[in-house]
């Protein structure tokens, strides 16, 4: 309605509100939602685990405690019943082909994440390659039952 009077005050306030709203919205989506607006896409490698219990898609990928990527997909290899985990690694992180991928837990009830330990080889992994050295999830229940079982058999 073009009749209504608008004091500059209203426009200023609405402007401030919208700017504040957009700044906070972009903080949420860029920082927390990890929208790859400015980042170059990473590359993918495959890791096979005998068990990936507790690991979820989107879980973090860390080297020395620093996040360098995430788990893209988890699927089952229907022939040898292994877990195939596709890892998305940031484009500027170089990994040797003898790196070790191990599934770890943050704290006791924390999320599972994948810890990468770089090796000493000269050959670097490229998009689509496979990490051959892996350590599966450590399941606390299994550890405990194993301990009980072993101590029994000693007797």
């Amino acid at each position: 309605m073009s009749v209504k009077r608008i004091t500059p005050n209203i426009e200023l306030m609405v402007g401030l509100f919208v700017i504040l709203g957009i700044v906070t919205a972009s903080y949420l989506s860029v920082v927390l939602g990890e929208t790859n607006l400015f980042k170059q896409p990473g590359y993918e490698v495959i890791a096979r685990f005998s068990s990936s219990t507790g690991l979820k898609e989107g879980a973090a990928l860390e080297i020395a405690g620093v996040k360098v990527g995430s788990v893209k997909t988890i699927s089952l290899d229907r022939e040898d019943y292994e877990s195939i985990v596709v890892l998305n690694i940031e484009h500027d992180i170089q990994l040797t082909d003898d790196s070790i991928a191990s599934i770890r837990t943050a704290g006791i009830i924390g999320d599972r994440f994948i810890k990468l330990t770089p090796g000493g080889s000269d050959i670097m992994l490229e998009h689509g390659d496979e990490i051959s050295e892996t350590e599966s999830s450590i399941v606390i229940e299994e550890l405990i039952s194993k301990y009980i079982f072993e101590s029994k058999s000693k007797d």
Partner: protein, 272 residues
């Protein structure tokens, strides 16, 4: 405008209410009302409170659904019009409500201009001049930038009148023009209404319970009581009417009914 206004230019009765019956819930408010309003006349609908006069007005404005009967405006039955056609029709109708119904967030000028901005593509300058002209007509020159809250009751009525005539409508409806106004202001408003009729050839329908004002401005008067029309005629006709209820209304006499003692007692002591 290629709408209703160009058809039926010369029909005698610009408003025709035929056999109008309405209900609120189970209560019948108007019983078979018939009114004809001639082109260019001031028709006053008079009645005490609860007589159904405001309801009748709201029917003419298309704000209520009638139970039966028809209402012809400029030759078209508005009870049969679609919403869109009704909006078209309303451009020929100006309405000044009892309380003014001004939009409190807009200035006087913005209130008056609103229909122009909504319905026409006139130049801003033209709209500005028209607004000021209408304010001159209602003797409120220089008030355009005030807010409705800064106006007195009489001023609000006059602004409402200015808004209702901004589109130069052919039909003007005015609900209680003099209610709550002192006699001087009320007389001024009456004068204004007559000038509008003479200058613009408007047909004007006024709903009021004020006798003095009604007799001053009316070409014809319709007296409504308890949802029924008692008489329609000139001021003289009404004054000379020997119907008891009309005379009671004219003499400001309260209704006095014969009291049936038994029924009265029943009414007072009834349970529930």
């Amino acid at each position: 405008m290629p709408d209703v206004s160009t058809q039926d230019k010369d029909i005698e009765h610009v408003i025709r209410v035929e056999n109008l019956v309405t209900h609120f819930g189970d209560r019948e408010i108007l019983h078979n009302v018939n009114i004809n309003v001639r082109k260019g006349e001031v028709m006053v609908i008079m009645g005490g409170s609860g007589s159904g006069k405001t309801t009748l007005l709201r029917h003419m404005l298309g704000l209520h659904q009638a139970s039966s009967g028809s209402i012809y405006m400029l030759g078209q039955d508005i009870t049969q019009l679609s919403k869109k056609q009704m909006y078209e029709m309303r451009r020929n109708m100006g309405v000044a409500f009892q309380g003014g119904a001004l939009f409190s967030s807009m200035t006087v000028a913005e209130n008056i201009q609103l229909p122009l901005y909504e319905h026409t593509s006139l130049d801003d300058m033209t709209i500005k001049i028209m607004t000021r002209m209408k304010l001159e007509v209602v003797n409120l020159a220089g008030f355009e930038d005030l807010m409705p809250s800064e106006l007195s009751g009489g001023m609000i009525k006059r602004v409402a009148l200015a808004r209702s005539i901004i589109m130069d409508p052919r039909l003007l409806f005015f609900d209680e023009p003099s209610a709550g106004l002192d006699p001087v202001v009320s007389a001024e408003l009456d004068e204004l209404i007559l000038r509008l009729r003479d200058a613009m050839g408007m047909t004007i329908v006024i709903v009021t319970h004020e006798l003095d004002s009604a007799f001053r401005i009316a070409d014809r008067i319709t007296v409504l009581d308890q949802g029924q029309i008692l008489i329609t005629g000139s001021v003289e006709d009404v004054k000379n009417c020997d119907n008891e209820r009309v005379q009671n209304l004219l003499n400001r006499k309260p209704k006095d009914e014969d009291i049936d003692p038994e029924a009265y007692l029943q009414r007072l002591t009834r349970e529930g």
